[in-house]
């Protein structure tokens, strides 16, 4: 029965109206008319994956179900199985394609097997395999038009629709030059197509179930009764055929160019891909459900399956125009979605692996535009090729033959894909020979017979005679896949694998032992990258690509760290791969951004490995997970070590910079990791260079100027030799020994004072006696003579001996100053009284009468100390102030309590102290007085007495806010209640 309820203009209006709706929806999304939340919703992606349900799902499945009953479900269950395995199968592929910006199967294979010719071969195989599927889509459109309208030229009408579809793909699919980019408008339109075909199919199912039958119960009773006979006539697929079909459709889920494109080239996020593991099977379940209903309904209606063509049974369900319209729209939506994505995917493959390989875009003036137009041309070419194939094939073959020819061809890539994921030992020669053998068998057995009236050439090897008499698709699939796999394995095992291929294999393999190598680059920073790329890409494109990569990596263009530059190079290569495919990208990057091969031997990129491990952590199990926990523990130990630690590779690249070192240096690890030692900020470059070059393994207390002042650092170095003694770089410990150094300096100072004290005691003792003798003799001489000259001489001798006695007395005083046990005999002492007493003694001396002393100490300021020794301190300090002051000057003594101390200051208006001398004033024999006047022992004595009192002394010269003069600061511990009562100073002193 041929339905004529829809006339040709009505049909054209329906078709063109539907395609216009697609244009409108894609435009609405691209112009931002729809909320972004809706456009980027996971459901949109999942529905876009429904592109798998091509015209086969609408018409082919009916044909298949009429022949093999529930066998038609293989088409849906195979792909559902593949998506069920998304975490182990699809996610690794997605990760690879995203990391290396691979937009198609050909890109992936060319990247893994390190050959542009592999990419070209994959493109040719994909094109050949997809042509029958494209022809199937166009044929169903033509047939539907012919059946509905009775049009005599369905092929031309189908061409018109195809051109509209091509226009859509050119407009919305080739918008970005980078193939690995999100086409929101396109995805939304494909999702809409999925919704439309699903709704139409469910409606057709509804018509069958409730229009033809009277609900599920009626259907069941028909199946148990009148329908039983027709059901028993249906052949059953034997288990082997069923499994083969499942395998074919399983492979199609990720090998078919359109599926690969939606799942991996449009940037679907990982979570959405995982959600699709149940959501896509659900979509397919709903798509599959109406098929048997339509079939049974047409059987009940007595539609002639042979005459109508089992594929188009839906047109016979009802005489209403809208039921026919639904069937037509379901087919058009399914066919157009598939055609759009196939043409996009194939155009990208052909661009990267045929056009650009044959004609590299060297110094193309406007590269982006040139690529965009080339791509649009290829999209049109692919769709036209599909139409031509349809014209060549004609309508002599049923949809199953066309579809299966396509799926069997694509399945020839399955061994290569599985090896890519799970067998790093596979090599190019093996893959190419296996694929070639498989493809030749497939072409001869299934593809060529589509175009010729001759039957397929199926060569059954000896031992497989059981396959004789089986359908061609079945025998060809088994023989081609078996030959493919066997050849692949044998050739891979028998031939050598290149180093580059091995590295790529490791990058692709799921359980890869990733060992990225470090080599320095010839270019020194981002700016040089631009210059070097400009030769091939042109200055504009080179600049934009480098900027894009820098932005993605959040890197500064001046970053010169070798690690960062390697990441930048990888990113640029990945981006160019998205633009022109991996082969051309690799050529350009290798040529423009070469590594320095004359440098040190490449070593493992530890930092990169660690970053990847961190990212992969959730996927590790068992031993790997335990090892990773151990790694993290050791890593943490080193990072949190309270001593500064850094590690260098043998090429001088910084591999580790722990927290303590970051705190000490004020430089965060992220800022310097991966940098070369020489490019570290000063003083670290020279300091670490010294320890790396030093013959000994330690450098003690190196003075270093850091942001927070002068520090003394001790560095230890250890080699990180490998097990075979090969150089593995160095680890350096950096200890801050500043405080220890300061303590040592104090100790040395104290020891020097102590030794001088001992010396002074001895000297005083030895000199004291002869001096007393000389003094007595001079006195005798003075009394014994009347000669005025002699008496003057005697006076001079006595004056000089007094001077010597005074020096000796000071020495003894100084020596005794060190002998007190700290704290012994300390009592509460009023500083006001001590100061007054000292001033009294000072005023007794004849010199310095005209100096004004002002004592501002308060009577209640009481310190803990020895009054006599503190008086000695004040005598010394006030004497110094007096000696330094001019006539009429003031000396002010003030005291202010400060926490547990009394802060005393003695300020004079004298000549001040030379800064060079100031640092040594507390060392014995340092004096600012003219020769013969000072002994240089007063201040060291003061220092030791103050130290005994747990006090502190400091010199300020000139004092803040004064042009000249000196201020001595003393801090003495305040007396606390509960200690001894106030002590009256000895007024005799």
């Amino acid at each position: 029965m041929t339905a004529m309820s829809l006339n040709l203009p009505g049909l054209l209006m329906l078709g063109i109206g539907y395609l216009s709706l697609l244009f409108l929806s894609a435009t609405a999304v691209d112009r931002g008319w729809l909320p972004r939340r809706l456009v980027r919703h996971p459901a949109v992606y999942i529905l876009a994956l429904g592109v798998y349900a091509s015209a086969w799902a609408v018409y082919g499945s009916l044909e298949f179900a009429s022949r093999y009953g529930f066998g038609y479900l293989a088409y849906y269950l195979g792909v559902a199985g593949a998506f069920l395995l998304a975490p182990v199968l699809l996610v690794p592929i997605q990760r690879m394609t995203r990391t290396h910006q691979l937009a198609s199967l050909a890109d992936l294979f060319a990247f893994r097997f390190r050959s542009r010719w592999v990419g070209t071969l994959m493109t040719v195989v994909s094109l050949l395999a997809v042509l029958p599927l494209l022809a199937l889509q166009i044929q169903t459109m033509g047939q539907a038009i012919h059946r509905l309208s009775g049009s005599a030229s369905p092929a031309l009408l189908a061409l018109g629709f195809s051109l509209l579809i091509a226009l859509f793909a050119m407009l919305f699919g080739a918008r970005h030059t980078h193939q690995h980019a999100r086409h929101d408008g396109l995805l939304a339109a494909i999702a809409l197509e999925s919704l439309v075909k699903l709704a139409a199919m469910l409606a057709l199912g509804g018509v069958a179930l409730f229009g033809v039958f009277n609900g599920p119960a009626d259907l069941q009773s028909w199946l148990d009764g009148a329908g039983h006979v027709s059901q028993t006539r249906i052949a059953q697929l034997d288990p082997g055929q069923w499994r083969t079909l499942l395998l074919l459709f399983f492979a199609a889920a990720f090998l078919m160019p359109h599926m690969f494109h939606i799942a991996f080239a449009e940037t679907l996020d990982r979570r959405t891909l995982l959600q699709s593991s149940w959501a896509l099977p659900l979509f397919l379940l709903l798509m599959a459900l109406p098929i048997p209903l339509i079939l049974w309904a047409s059987q009940r209606l007595g539609v002639d399956e042979v005459g109508a063509g089992a594929a188009y049974l839906a047109f016979g369900l009802s005489t209403s125009w809208w039921v026919d319209g639904l069937a037509f729209i379901a087919g058009l939506a399914a066919a157009s979605g598939t055609m759009i994505i196939i043409s996009l995917a194939l155009s990208g493959m052909m661009l990267n692996h045929m056009v650009l390989v044959a004609h590299p875009p060297i110094a193309q003036p406007d590269l982006y535009r040139w690529l965009r137009w080339l791509r649009r041309g290829l999209i049109a070419a692919v769709i036209l090729a599909g139409w031509l194939f349809y014209r060549l094939v004609g309508v002599h073959h049923d949809l199953s033959a066309l579809g299966l020819a396509s799926f069997v061809g694509v399945a020839q890539c399955l061994p290569g894909m599985l090896a890519l994921l799970y067998w790093p030992g596979a090599n190019r020669k093996g893959m190419v020979s296996g694929l070639s053998v498989g493809v030749v068998i497939w072409l001869a057995g299934l593809w060529v017979p589509l175009l010729t009236p001759y039957p397929g050439l199926v060569l059954l090897p000896p031992g497989l005679d059981v396959l004789a008499g089986e359908p061609d698709w079945y025998s060809v699939t088994l023989v081609a896949l078996a030959a493919n796999i066997l050849t692949f394995i044998l050739v891979s095992l028998a031939t050598q694998t290149s180093t580059g291929e091995r590295a790529a294999a490791e990058a692709c393999s799921v359980d890869a032992v990733v060992r990225p190598m470090r080599l320095p680059l010839a270019a020194a920073n981002g700016a040089e990258f631009k210059q070097q790329l400009a030769g091939v890409l042109g200055a504009d494109v080179a600049g934009r690509e480098v900027e894009r990569a820098l932005t993605a990596l959040e890197m500064s263009p001046l970053d010169a760290r070798p690690y960062a530059l390697r990441r930048l190079r990888d990113r640029i290569q990945a981006n160019l791969s998205g633009l022109m495919g991996p082969s051309v990208a690799q050529d350009i990057v290798d040529r423009c951004l070469p590594y320095q091969h004359d440098g040190p031997v490449a070593s493992e990129d530890i930092h990169f490995v660690e970053n990847r491990l961190e990212a992969y952590r959730s996927r590790l199990t068992g031993l790997a997970r335990e090892l990773d926990s151990l790694r993290r523990y050791h890593r943490r130990t080193l990072t949190r070590l309270p001593i500064g630690l850094c590690a260098f590779g043998e090429d001088g690249e910084l591999l580790m910079w722990n927290d303590a070192l970051a705190e000490l240096s004020g430089i965060a690890g992220e800022a310097v990791l991966g940098a070369h030692r020489e490019t570290l900020p000063a003083p670290w470059n020279t300091l670490l260079g010294q320890i790396l070059a030093a013959p000994q393994e330690r450098l003690y207390k190196q003075p270093v100027s850091l942001a927070h002042g002068e520090r003394f650092l001790t560095l230890h170095r250890a080699g990180l030799q490998g097990e075979q003694g090969e150089d593995g770089g160095h680890v350096i410990l950096v200890e801050d020994h500043s405080e220890m150094k300061w303590l040592e300096d104090e100790l040395i100072h104290a020891a020097r004072l102590a030794s001088i004290g001992q010396l002074a005691t001895g000297v005083a003792h030895e000199i004291g006696n002869p001096i007393t003798g000389i003094s007595s003799l001079a006195q005798n001489l003075r009394y014994d003579t009347e000669d005025p000259a002699l008496r003057e001489t005697a006076d001079q001798i006595q004056g000089l001996t007094d001077r010597v006695s005074q020096i000796v007395g000071s020495l003894v005083g100084f020596a005794h100053g060190g002998r007190h046990v700290t704290g012994a005999g300390f009592t509460a002492t009023r500083m006001q009284e001590v100061t007054e007493e000292a001033l009294h003694l000072i005023r007794l001396a004849r010199s310095g009468d005209d100096i004004h002393y002002i004592n501002r100490c308060a009577a209640d300021q009481v310190v803990m100390g020895d009054a006599q020794r503190l008086q000695q301190v004040m005598l010394n300090l006030l004497g110094n102030a007096r000696d330094a002051s001019e006539a009429g000057a003031q000396v002010i003594i003030e005291a202010v309590p400060q926490a547990a101390y009394l802060h005393l200051s003695i300020t004079d208006e004298g000549r001040g102290i030379d800064p060079e001398v100031r640092d040594h004033l507390f060392e014995p024999f340092t004096t600012t007085k003219p020769a013969g006047e000072g002994t240089g022992l007063g201040l060291p004595l003061v220092y030791s007495i103050i130290a005994e009192h747990d006090g502190h002394i400091d010199i300020e010269s000139p004092p803040a806010g004064h042009a000249g003069g000196t201020r001595i600061h003393l801090w003495l511990p305040l007396y606390r209640e509960g200690d001894e009562g106030p002590h009256e100073p000895d007024s005799d002193r």
Binding site: L77, P87, P216, H228, T232, Q236, L237, Q275, W278, P292
Partner: protein, 59 residues
Amino acid sequence: MYVYRIMLFLVFGGYLLSPLLMSGWASPEASWYRPFLIWAGLIALTLWLEQKRKLDERR
């Protein structure tokens, strides 16, 4: 990650045993919607495993 193994087991086990299932579907005594019920059950199982996997990865 352990959930992945369950999925692998499920898919390959299902693949090998599916002809048995198929003969069950095709038996004339069965209800016409039985294959779809089994399939829906499988989808529910996948959904449940997917939730478990999320928890597993969060751990």
